[in-house]
Amino acid sequence: MRIFSATLRKLVRRPATWVTLGLMVGLLALILLVLAVTTREGPAGIRRPMELLLFTFPTAYLFILEFILSLGGLLSVLYAASVAGSEWGWGTLKAAVARGESRWRYTLATFAAVAVVLGAGIAVAYTLGVGLDLLAGRIAGVDSGNLGDATVLGKLPEQMVRTWLVIVEQAAIGFAIATVARSQLAGIGVGIGLYFGEQFATIFLPDQVRYLPFHAANAAVDLGAAAGGAATRGAGTGALTPEEALLVVAAWLIGALLLSCLFTDRSEIPG
């Protein structure tokens, strides 16, 4: 618990934490505002369905979550790789081990703190996202719709938890890569490569790709048809059901953490 809370304090002070959150919220704001302006300046009375879905609640709730799920996956890979890699690069893992700290406990506590920070980041980004969406809708001149829709709001907590879980799974992949590479840069580089490599793998491994970490993550959060793009993310021929995908996500999460712990435990730590 001591390491977990110390790591949490450390992550709050870490510039990468705020840069990652800033990127997420900044890109969301940029996209929403650009779409709002183009919608407002478009032909009066003609609204494209995408824009209406984006600015009209309750579907807008799901769009924001969809955005966080998509970009958040990649950012979480990079963030966790940065945290894990820097422990090796800066020699802070060495300092902890030389004080007699358990390598397993240190790795798990560090990752647990990363998971909590990601959860807080998702909550903050989502809250700001809803605010920005309302603002963008006003700029676009689109009616905000029904903000208090009980059906969508009722499902939202579960969808948020699932989003957090799959983002944590993707973070675990980045964490494991950087641990094995023992480097921030290598971890980030390989993490990006793996993320985009998996998207290309759809061409070569159409049947297997659904079991890969990023595809399974997308399939595990069922945002329904209302979210447009979200509905098709995990869909397609032979896509996993959300429940199946959640099991695959859990397997990847546990596997990545085990790999990180085992590698840290067995490795020789350089000076």
Binding site: K10, A98, R99, G271
Partner: protein, 319 residues
């Protein structure tokens, strides 16, 4: 029998085909300042890493504070403080925050300890500044503070004087001396022989991964058969000629410009040398018996100032 704070027996470690350590035997008594010397690549840092469990030996055993230390014995390190190579900190945190984060690992640490240590190493006024803005010397001082967090019985310091200014070196020496006086054992690897000479009670010298000499520093220097003379540069040739009666030319080293002559003769023969020179009408301005640490180090490791090559001159231990 003396209590040993640290002992290794036949410690061996290879990196591929290269043997970093080749049967290292160390015996460090409790409560001493032990200078661990060796040329670059001799195996000093590898030894430090093995002693802190960062890497694992291929052969041999380690005893820390009287008990075996191996995989799974990490709690033994609760009584050990280590600074290995460069100090490791989070650059975006302050000195105080770094110590607090580190204190959350390993042995439990008193809450007030961080402030005590910031005072001890003279960083209290800059304790709130980010470490990324610290000089190498300040990071080194913070590194020494970090080793003391859990009030360890044994300190392992790898080149602790790195980056310190003269005042910092003196302060570090005083701090280490004070810690040794409180019964702690301090194991210091260093390249700065003058520093070790002033600080260490004992030294161990390694070359090519093996111990070539270990013992009380004073005993080691006295046991070496060296007599050093200093005189007028224009009298050096005459002095060497006169000394030819008792010492072979191969055992004489001369630096004419400095008026220095070094003789490979036992210390007891110093008065004989003095008498011989006086009878030849030559009067030395200085005469010392016994080696200095630099001469001993170069002699034992076969190092040269030019390339740091070495040729170990056998293994020995002075009681």
């Amino acid at each position: 029998m003396t209590d040993l704070a640290l002992a290794t027996h036949g410690l061996a470690k290879r990196y591929g085909a290269r043997a970093a350590l080749d049967g290292l035997d160390l015996a460090v008594p409790t409560g001493v300042v032990y200078g661990f010397l060796g040329p670059n690549g001799a195996g000093k840092t590898t030894t430090m890493r093995l002693l802190t469990g960062l890497i694992h030996q291929d052969a041999g055993t380690i005893e820390l504070l009287g008990r075996p230390f191996g995989r799974g014995d990490r709690r033994r390190l609760f009584d050990v403080g280590a600074l290995i190579e460069s100090p490791a900190f989070y650059p975006f945190l302050s000195a105080r925050e770094n110590l607090r984060v580190l204190a959350a690992t390993g042995a439990p640490t008193r809450r007030t300890r961080v402030e005590e240590l910031l005072d001890l190493v003279g960083l209290r006024e800059r304790a709130g500044d980010k470490v990324s803005g610290y000089s190498l010397g300040m990071k080194q001082r913070l590194g020494i503070a970090a080793t003391l967090l859990s009030d360890p019985k044994l300190l392992l310091l790898d080149e602790p004087a790195n980056g310190l200014d003269p005042a910092g070196i003196v302060a570090m020496r005083d701090t280490l001396r004070h810690l040794a006086a409180t019964g702690k054992t301090i194991f210091v690897s260093s390249h700065i022989l003058g520093e070790v000479r002033q600080l260490a009670d004992m030294v161990g010298i390694i070359a090519a991964g093996r111990l070539v000499r270990e013992g009380r520093l004073a005993d080691l220097l006295e046991s070496e058969g060296v007599i050093r003379l200093r005189g007028a540069p224009d009298e050096v040739a005459a002095a060497v000629a006169a000394l030819g009666a008792i010492v072979a030319p191969a055992q004489v080293g001369v630096v004419v410009e400095a008026g220095r002559i070094t003789l490979q003769l036992s210390a007891e023969r110093a008065s004989e040398v003095n008498r011989l020179l006086a009878s030849a009408g030559i009067f030395a301005s200085g005469l010392e018996a016994g080696s200095d640490l630099e001469t001993l180090f170069l002699q034992l490791t076969g190092s040269t100032a030019a390339d740091g090559t070495f040729n170990p001159a056998g293994v020995g231990r002075v009681a």
